[in-house]
């Protein structure tokens, strides 16, 4: 079993970079949304508004950290760190470049799926412990949505796994040296993107926190740093799903040699981060039952068909 852990220094560097990038996304998303909505976006604090993140952080750290007296204290305090921890743990198996990564594990894909399924607890416990009807509704929606879309997420990945013949993300990247999986697995890619948006409950699938209907959903009662953890957790999820898309379908760090591998990875991942923001800017939120119908009646058969055809193709290729 292959299980290599990177040096402490590289782990710390990756952790730091990932969190800083997620925090910077607060600014990136607002500027990009401004760009697409013909506004300016935050541009007053520092050059191009870059220090807006710092200002937001100061605000969020100095806010009153309030636990409502009617809440279940144990679960209420437990919920926000879960999402941060779970998503940061998922980053441990992502291969950023040759030699850059925390763990080189043979079960990388499964580990990401396991962590994604554990992420649902953060949302559910947060909503349930708040003792607030909107929070409860939000977490009910979140639970159903995340459990459902995990299924398609997992199945859509299996096509890539079948082609690469391994669950190891690093080997999946290496096996794409003579062709990215986006071409043979374009259906899997589409399903993965849709499921990824639903898993990180970003718009247009932010039904658990639909502010027009249920205030703020599961984090209605959260404030201060505990809200901040949910907030940064969401952006971490965006970065995670973008990195996964790049690793699984777009050849990870592979690219022409005039740029170093890590730059290729960052470039590809930022394209998908921007795409996530574009989704938010462009597409309205579906109704809840539409989301569920779409998932179970359209995406599930499609992903199963994709897996079947991929399996047949792999077997046919081996028989040749």
């Amino acid at each position: 079993m292959k299980f290599e852990v990177g040096s402490a220094l590289s782990i710390a560097a990756i952790l730091f970079t990932v969190i800083v990038v997620a925090a910077m996304l607060i600014w990136v998303e607002r500027r990009l949304l401004g760009l697409w909505q013909e506004r300016l976006g935050p541009n007053r604090v520092g050059p191009f508004g870059l220090l807006q993140v710092v200002a937001d952080m100061i605000k969020i750290f100095t806010k009153e950290d309030w636990v409502p007296p009617f809440a279940d204290r144990f679960s209420f305090l437990l919920a926000p760190p879960i999402i941060m921890v779970v998503i940061l743990l998922s980053f441990s198996v992502i291969p950023f470049a040759p030699g850059v990564g925390v763990i080189d594990s043979d079960i990388g894909v499964l580990f990401v799926l396991a962590m994604a399924s554990l992420g649902a607890y953060s949302v559910m416990l947060g909503g349930l412990s708040s003792n607030n009807k909107y929070a409860l509704l939000g977490s009910l929606r979140a639970a159903a949505q995340m459990v459902s879309y995990e299924v398609f997420m997992g199945i859509s990945l299996l096509g890539v796994v079948a082609l690469a013949g391994t669950f190891n993300l690093r080997e999946i990247v290496l096996s794409q040296a003579d062709g990215w999986y986006i071409l043979p697995q374009c259906v899997g890619f589409l399903i993965f993107v849709i499921a990824g948006v639903a898993e990180s409950h970003r718009l247009p699938f932010d039904i658990p926190e639909a502010e027009q209907e249920i205030v703020a959903g599961y984090h209605t009662e959260y404030s201060g740093m505990k809200f901040g953890m949910f907030f940064v957790g969401e952006y971490l999820g965006v970065v995670l799903v973008s990195s996964l898309i790049v690793v699984l379908f777009f050849g990870g760090w592979l690219g022409p040699a005039f740029l170093p591998p890590i730059v290729w990875f960052v470039l590809k991942a930022s394209v998908f981060v921007a795409f996530f923001v574009l989704l938010r800017a462009a597409i309205p939120r579906p109704r809840y039952d539409q989301l569920m119908n779409y998932g179970w009646l359209f995406l599930l058969p499609l992903s199963l068909l994709n897996l079947l055809l991929t399996g047949a193709f792999v077997l046919w290729q081996e028989g040749m």
């Binding site: 401004g34 760009l35 697409w36 909505q37 013909e38 506004r39 300016l40 541009n43 589409l190 574009l278 989704l279 800017a281 462009a282 597409i283 779409y294 359209f298």
Partner: protein, 179 residues
Amino acid sequence: MLRLIKDTLISQVVTLWKVFLHAFDKTDTVEYPDVKPQMFSRWRGRIILSRDPDGEERCVACNLCAVACPVDCIALQKAEDEEGRWYPEFFRINFSRCIMCGFCEEACPTHAIQLTPDFEMAEYVRQDMVWEKEDLLISGTGKYHDYNFYRIAGKKIGGKDKGEARNEAVPVNVRSLLP
């Protein structure tokens, strides 16, 4: 099936592309305190009281604006000078209640009360939001330059007798038998 693909996939991709193209458009907003936005002349902002071309107050204290006001933010008291002109003794607008609906302007028969494109009305003290007549009254005619109520209306005031207004016939002498 084709229809479903068209509805769920193609239309979404078209939407994404159209929104993406907005990245190359000019922004609609301006950096406000540094760049003042160009307001429309009919923008409903700060309320003023205007004067007629002769420099007199246009307001005749008819109270129609106060009646029309849905949030009751206008208060005034009628007074009359020795020439017979009506004018408001005080005229008070509470801008912390005002919703800039413009009903007062529509109700005003003399074009006295008008809304202007000025929107910078924030105050630090709430009491400063209450504006008296001295604050509201401007020295110009506002949007309507030639209109002068007392020169058109038949009311008799000092220096203008009955029948001397514009387009007004001389009053019929009902005590006379002549046609």
